[in-house]
């Protein structure tokens, strides 16, 4: 049973103050995000996830349970009276930008030039354009144009 109002782990965070680290604690392993990817692409059943990802069954059991515990997936007892289904929660669907940026980085940096790969398209069949970070003023942001404002520790008084 979770102790907080959210479905977050009581367990220790790798780095409690950093949202990046927390997110990675929840989905930062080899498989979780691939499960989420397939859920977004329509997978619902245990066997469907297994078939698409090729993940070992015991690990899939574990990941589905963890993702469910963390409020990223939820279990439905299927409309047609059939077996259990796993569907994304709002938090799960909110991982879409993460998967999109991972995909876009991969398209550019994990394929040799000209090597074919799958592509994301919107309803009209148009390619989804690249996500580009911008500052509050709309100016494109780069990795070294930002910095982290820490708010974790006790005030420096």
């Amino acid at each position: 049973m979770p102790s907080t109002s959210t479905g977050l782990p009581n367990a220790v965070w790798t780095d409690p103050d950093c949202p990046v680290a927390r997110t990675l604690d929840l989905v930062g392993d080899r498989w979780s995000l691939l499960v989420v990817r397939d859920a977004m692409d329509g997978a619902r059943s245990f066997t469907e996830f297994q078939r698409r990802t090729g993940i070992a069954r015991n690990i899939l059991t574990d990941r589905l349970r963890k993702l469910t515990d963390h409020g990223i997936l939820t279990q439905r007892t299927a409309p047609s009276g059939r077996r259990r289904q796993y569907v994304l929660t709002d938090a799960g669907r909110a991982l879409f930008p993460v998967l999109l940026t991972l995909r876009q980085w991969g398209e550019r940096h994990a394929f040799a030039p000209g090597e074919p790969h799958s592509t994301l398209v919107d309803q009209h069949g148009a390619r989804v354009p690249e996500l580009k970070p911008t500052g509050a003023d709309g100016v494109p942001l780069d990795a070294d144009a930002i910095h982290v404002r820490k708010t974790g520790g006790p005030p420096p008084g």
Copy 2:
């Protein structure tokens, strides 16, 4: 030595056609993206990475080597004649949107309401706004408004 023109592994991909899976093969473990995060935040030396992440030293050795092999980090023999430094390559800096979306998801979904966390700000100290996927027409995109066009098979002619 890599066989392709890029610094990509000869090894087998989890899912060779999917850019998401390839990216996760390269940086989809507990630590790699935290190393990249700290590199973006100014970390350069082995001990600095170790101190910030708390990662075990042998694992850090391994991750730094892998990230370097994959062309995400590169080694410089420090301008001041000092020890070796690890700096991000262009591909490494291109992971910024990934870290940003991870962070933004975490801020919203991995913290209890009102719980304090660090924040990203741009040069002017303004909070970096949320990244929102849009279609080619600029219309906001949701996880279920897209689909994957497969292009894994042999080229059609």
